[in-house]
């Protein structure tokens, strides 16, 4: 008898030759999500992962929660594993049903669903269903069988070395295990959107690193702390902490403000941020950038504006939120756990310098002309040279 969590994965099972690599990645990510002190063995077993807690009475709730936040996991079931015998299965089934009935108000309808992959087991699946079903009906007068609309299903899986029994299937986040795709550099502000963009990129297996533009003294160290906290929350969804690069953006920002027309400040700032991000990414062998832009959300996020900003780099820019509504983004932010941090009222570096009426359709010609008065290369060099890396270890402790 043992308590286990059965972890199912979907999409990665389809990936042909890459499949073993994906599976190894997911097993590793589940292991890391649990941490070293979990006291659980994690193994891959015929297209699913089994997290084995040994003799433990039940699987701990926190472990279930952590595994349910690992990308690539489609669903999980807390289950009991018993030896290959009808006797053992009956005994455990009775315990599970008793648990169910305890929290129920009245009679419960149920059915038994057996899957037998171990063909040496003497009973077929329909036979197991019938034997276990009638045993439970005799034992619990409050049970009724209903194969069409059951209140719960007792799942029985007869495997090579054990029988698994469970009644719950809980959804995971889906997606691909982080690290199965390459790395992207996330432009992380203190706002609501960019952490969600990072999370969605992770969902497709992308390993995320983050860059933040800090403009002390125009923004305070508290706003930087806030971004560090956001990176720490994102790190929970990643097998390793999300490294955070903090760029001193003050020189670039003041140069832009001094030399550019007020309406164009935002466009030029964003172009500068992308240039710096591209340099940081290239130096680290990162092939793509990620931003939290969403079409039309603010004046600077029109298609014209995106085009004017995008022009400075040939690197792909992933915009996972591009067609999402603010309400959808907020809902995700709340679910991920970044919303409460994002709404803290410290000014981030965009807000201090925002003009009343930013240009919504910047013309490339005019943008280039405005930049002629700036020492672009030097400002990029200076920013890249003074970048501060916030140690992932510091993030892990939060």
């Amino acid at each position: 008898m043992a308590s286990v969590i059965l972890v199912r994965y979907g999409e990665i099972g389809l990936k042909g030759k890459n499949r073993p690599a994906f599976e190894r990645r997911l097993v590793e990510n589940v292991r890391r999500a649990l941490g070293s002190g979990a006291g659980a063995a994690v193994r891959n077993e015929y297209g699913r992962i089994v997290v084995d807690f040994g003799e433990a009475e039940a699987v701990p709730g926190w472990a279930l929660d952590r595994i349910r936040s690992v990308f690539g996991v489609v669903s999980v079931s807390p289950a009991a594993s018993v030896e290959l015998s009808l006797e053992a299965a009956r005994e455990k089934a009775a315990a599970l049903v008793e648990e169910r009935l305890k929290s129920a108000a009245g009679p419960l309808r149920f059915k038994v669903e057996t899957k037998r992959s171990n063909k040496r087991f003497p009973l077929t699946s329909p036979e197991m269903n019938a034997r276990l079903g009638s045993f439970l009906l005799r034992r619990f007068p409050l049970l009724e069988v209903d194969v069409h609309r059951p209140d719960f299903v007792l799942h029985v899986e007869v495997r090579e070395k054990a029988i698994y029994l469970y009644t719950e299937i809980l959804a995971g986040p889906g997606g691909l295990p982080v690290g199965s795709s390459s790395t992207g550099l996330l432009l992380l502000s203190g706002g609501i959107d960019s952490p969600v963009a990072g999370w969605l990129a992770m969902k497709r297996g992308i390993r995320v690193q983050a860059v933040h533009y800090h403009s002390f003294p125009f923004t305070s160290d508290r706003s930087k702390e806030k971004v560090i906290d956001l990176a720490a929350v994102l790190s929970r969804y990643s097998p390793e902490p999300v490294p955070l690069y903090v760029v001193n953006f003050t020189p670039a920002q003041t140069a832009i403000r001094q030399h550019a027309p007020a309406a164009m400040v935002i466009t030029l700032m964003r172009r500068m941020m992308l240039r710096i991000a591209e340099r940081l990414a290239k130096e680290r062998g990162i092939p793509a950038l990620i931003t939290g832009e969403s079409v039309g959300q603010v004046a600077s996020q029109t298609l014209e504006s995106m085009a004017a900003i995008n022009e400075v780099t040939s690197m792909p820019i992933l915009r996972p939120l591009v067609t999402m509504d603010k309400a959808e983004i907020i809902e995700l932010a709340e679910r991920i756990g970044t919303y409460e941090i994002s709404i803290l009222p410290y000014a981030d570096c965009c807000t201090v310098f925002v003009p009343e009426h930013p240009e919504t359709k910047p013309k490339l010609e005019a943008v280039r002309r405005a930049e002629e008065r700036l020492a672009i290369q030097e400002l990029v060099e200076e920013a890249v040279a003074t970048v501060e890396r916030i140690e992932p270890a510091a993030l892990a402790l939060r």
């Binding site: 003294p217 125009f218 001094q258 030399h259 201090v352 925002v354």
Partner: protein, 386 residues
């Protein structure tokens, strides 16, 4: 100079003797003052000593001192305690527009419960006119609450005249004074002022945070905020904060040993600060100069430079000051005090508060003035357009 701390109106650094007293109380006098045995008496002796010191400084009797968790609780106890105790005599209360947020929030709570509150205006220097107090008090009025020294601009209110004006209309009106920023920098004597309730706090006079007191005139009935315990004359139930009160006591002892010279020294530092900072182009002093202001708080505006940005620029230069109006995202949360002075928009957004203490030195003021001049000039350069 490693750092210059000029945010003493926010909180002060504890004196070494305070640290010592707190630590000693935690380690040795750990008994409960209510216990019958010797350990209880040791702790009780600490309370007694601190209570006696505060009574001597305020020139009142020890039985009129109630220890609390600080200025906020003292204010709430005074205001709500009076309003509730006298709700049958009337449901009108008088205060000013420039009170500390803890006072204003107590009044807002009472408004929500059906009391009506008059918020008196102030003049350009932040002073309340006693004639306005007289006009506001009616037959329904049970309480007048006015702060002695404003925490943002340092303006001193004519408390004696205000109390007299209030009583002309209604002799039995209760007068409360929030003296949290006054204790330590000027005489606070309730009986001379003719007031019934006075709030003070430990951490504004180099004592620990989390401890304060309320003077309650003998014979005045107020309602406790919670429970009706046996401690603090039934006004404040819960085991007393012995280590905090020990530290408060040590700070009070240091205060009692001070001479008038210290206050003169502070006043001249403030004058120097004002004279030199007003040399900056466009600079203005918000509040009063000379005797009309407390010697330790001065509020300035440097138009064109946001207060919050200047605070951070000064922090970079190891000088710590405050801002009244905090900029959050695109909106500026404007200080209700500066607004009440009727300042123009740009002065509102560009204000900083500099507050001194007895630990502040002449050299520190010189260092801070140089840093402020440098920071304002460099920020103005950064924010200019070419």
């Amino acid at each position: 100079m490693t750092e210059v701390y000029l945010d003493n109106a926010a909180t002060t650094r504890a004196l070494p003797s305070v640290v010592e007293a707190v630590s000693r109380a935690l380690a040795h006098a750990y008994g409960n003052p209510s216990s019958l045995h010797r350990k209880g008496m040791e702790a009780e002796a600490i309370l007694k000593e601190a209570r006696g010191l505060l009574a001597r400084i305020l020139d009142v009797s020890a039985g009129e001192i109630v220890f609390t968790s600080g200025g906020t609780e003292s204010n709430a106890l005074a205001i709500k305690g009076t309003a509730y105790a006298r709700r049958r005599r009337g449901r009108h209360l008088v205060t000013t527009r420039i009170e500390h947020s803890s006072v204003l929030s107590a009044f807002r709570d009472l408004e929500a419960e059906g009391f009506s509150v008059t918020y008196l205006p102030v003049d350009r220097e932040g002073r309340v006119d006693p004639a306005d107090v007289r006009a506001a008090v009616s037959d329904e009025t049970t309480l007048v609450s006015v702060m002695m020294v404003n925490n943002e601009i340092g303006t001193v209110q004519p408390i004696g005249a205000i109390a007299r004006a209030a009583r002309e209309k209604r002799p039995d009106v209760v007068v409360h004074v929030d003296a949290v920023q006054a204790l330590g920098v000027m005489p606070v004597r309730p009986k001379e002022l003719g007031v019934d309730l006075v709030s003070v706090s430990g951490h504004k006079i180099h004592g620990p945070k989390g401890v304060g007191a309320l003077y309650v005139r003998k014979g005045l009935q107020i309602q406790p905020l919670f429970g009706k315990g046996s401690q603090e004359g039934g006004l404040r139930s819960g085991t007393e904060n012995v280590p905090g009160i020990a530290g408060f006591g040590a700070a009070l002892r240091a205060l009692a040993e001070e001479t008038g010279e210290e206050r003169e020294r502070l006043r001249s530092l403030r004058e120097r600060l004002i004279t030199e900072l007003l040399e900056i182009e466009g600079a203005r002093l918000n509040g009063a100069r000379g005797e009309g202001a407390a010697p330790h708080i001065a509020n300035f505006s440097f138009p064109g430079v946001r207060g919050e940005v200047l605070v951070h620029a000064l922090e970079e230069r190891s000088v710590y000051v405050s801002t009244g109006s905090a900029c959050t995202s695109r909106t500026v949360a404007v200080s209700h005090v500066l607004k009440a002075l009727g300042l123009p928009e740009e002065a509102l957004e560009s204000s900083i508060r500099i507050s001194l203490s007895k630990l502040t030195t002449e050299d520190e003021i010189a260092f801070a003035v140089a840093a402020i001049k440098d920071a304002v000039a460099s920020l103005r350069r950064m924010l200019s357009r070419r």
